[in-house]
Symmetry: C2
Amino acid sequence: MTEVYVIGIGMTEFGKHPDRTAADLGAEAVRGAIHDAGIDPRAIETAYAGHVFQPMVTGQQVLAQVGLAGIPLANVENACSSGSTAIRGSFIDLLAGVADVSLAFGTEHLTGAFKGAFTPGEDDPEAAVGATMPAVYAMRARRYMEEFGLTREQLARISVKNKRNAALNPLAHFKKDVTIDDVLMAKPIAEPFGLLDCSPVSDGAAAVVLATGDWVRRHGEQSRAIRLRASALRTGKVETAPSSMTFEELTRDTANDAYEAAGVGPEDIDFAEVHDCFTIAEVLRIEGLGLWEQGTYPAAVERGEADLGGRLPVNPSGGLLGKGHPLAATGVAQVVELVKQLRGDAGSRQIDGARVGIAHCRGGKAAGVEGAACTVQILTT
Amino acid sequence: MTEVYVIGIGMTEFGKHPDRTAADLGAEAVRGAIHDAGIDPRAIETAYAGHVFQPMVTGQQVLAQVGLAGIPLANVENACSSGSTAIRGSFIDLLAGVADVSLAFGTEHLTGAFKGAFTPGEDDPEAAVGATMPAVYAMRARRYMEEFGLTREQLARISVKNKRNAALNPLAHFKKDVTIDDVLMAKPIAEPFGLLDCSPVSDGAAAVVLATGDWVRRHGEQSRAIRLRASALRTGKVETAPSSMTFEELTRDTANDAYEAAGVGPEDIDFAEVHDCFTIAEVLRIEGLGLWEQGTYPAAVERGEADLGGRLPVNPSGGLLGKGHPLAATGVAQVVELVKQLRGDAGSRQIDGARVGIAHCRGGKAAGVEGAACTVQILTT
């Protein structure tokens, strides 16, 4: 079985980049990843580019900017799981022997793609009558409150934690601590959410270079290489039925694929980066991954168990709430954070003894439409 | 080395489908391919969906319509090479052992995505000053005329040939023969092109099911399985420099990758489906593939060598000019035609003794931008 390693990582600062393009941001991240890997760029044999709302052949334009035009590249789109799907593309190329070294990146100039809030597609009848992303997740939060006694304050603590982590991340969109009161008093979005329960509209890009174990050993790159044990992907349906609103079967099933492929279980995970597009989303993902029992994560956050110094730190990078959420860049940036932590290079937000990390992405249309994609990736030292 | 076979093909009629969606068309093509393969749909383990201008997670919606939600799927975009890139995704999954059976499809509701002509992206400065797709190819035709003595009538004969083939294809957008005079007298588009030198704006979808050689033998599917020997992909630049306008290095390089992987050469090819988005494009592709010497193809068409009964039939399906061009469906439909011909199931347009077929796609932005993608696939009985 071919071993796959991450040998280089790069990302731009996430935030508002009014004078940049997705291709330009992507090129910055890719140059960073190649520089970090310390390889001759010509070693890269294939590439995958994740983006959601950028012009066609955006990935090819990134390759051209960094002098890599020529090699095979596919642009991939899986909503908010687009970046992690790009990584899976490179992962499979290495397994197939199509390449020994492959590049995956995600880039999104979201402020250029939208004016104002993220809007649903015209073909989405439920969204057209109000079931937008914030509304759907707000309903899930309300339902979770009803079933498990989640409080508004507990929800707010997730935002407080992630923005605290982001304040330690120089590449994060938000670099300022917020208090529980700040979250509770923020501009209302969809009851019970205020603005600070929602991830922002960000621009940014992230990139990783993957290589086979044979290549890594042949080139003496073992010391900083981090093993990508599994890159799982599933499709499914956005959870709007009462039975599925407070537990994500799609996340559970995708995680089980990843655990099986990686030969580890939830009990082995030291830390997690998960898709906290809204505060409640972190709860649903963490419980779907089996890292806490259903209904128990909010109290664990209250006890500090998911903090950087806690039992199992969650979203040390700041997550989508703090680091920002340039859709397709997000899944790649999660893996960038896992690599930094597993290398011991995460600076002031370093998790002591981090050896096994998990990254989770989840994307799809707002409601009703069978258009969800979920990825789970597991990395180890 | 894992062998890869096409075991099922399906496609919709190409044309104007005002009452359909891309997902709906995709589902029809996928159902057709599964039915043609005669397999339990649950044998399909992974999927790739090509589309260019459709809403995000369109592929997931197709899977849901056919009852396959759950399996890994990536939407892929490589401009007009999106469908063939989807096939390459499935091909690599089988090589990697990620799946034994994989589904690839391309779908495009182009009449719903545009009103009027295909327009360049806002970020394309050359297109903004008039270097649109028809203009760029018209310049290449003019240059080819200058260099190799191509005549307007020779160019028209390519349209006549492909529309004659399309008239034999019940799924083609155009089902009517045209004469050289029809082509010459058609509404002017960009000198020397008239309307009949240009591929139309079409809706449609096509799908293929791929399986490994082991799976095919285990399930007794050998009799109708057609071997996919190579699925090559490269990126590059749209040819606007004088030196590259009349010869496509990108097509040549991608073809060489495919020939090497398949263990065949241009001399072994019995027939070809190539990306004839404009009449001149067929010339550039065929010569780039090495099937005729540079500067010699137009005269060969005049002599009937590329006709159905000729030495090396080109675009027996009708090509983009005759069958239509629903962007991402095109690359998959080419492989559908190759399979029909290699099975001997092509009816009135059957090529006698067809054993080795080649399919070529080429997409990208109009001009100047380094945003081209090229695929070449080789199939054999």
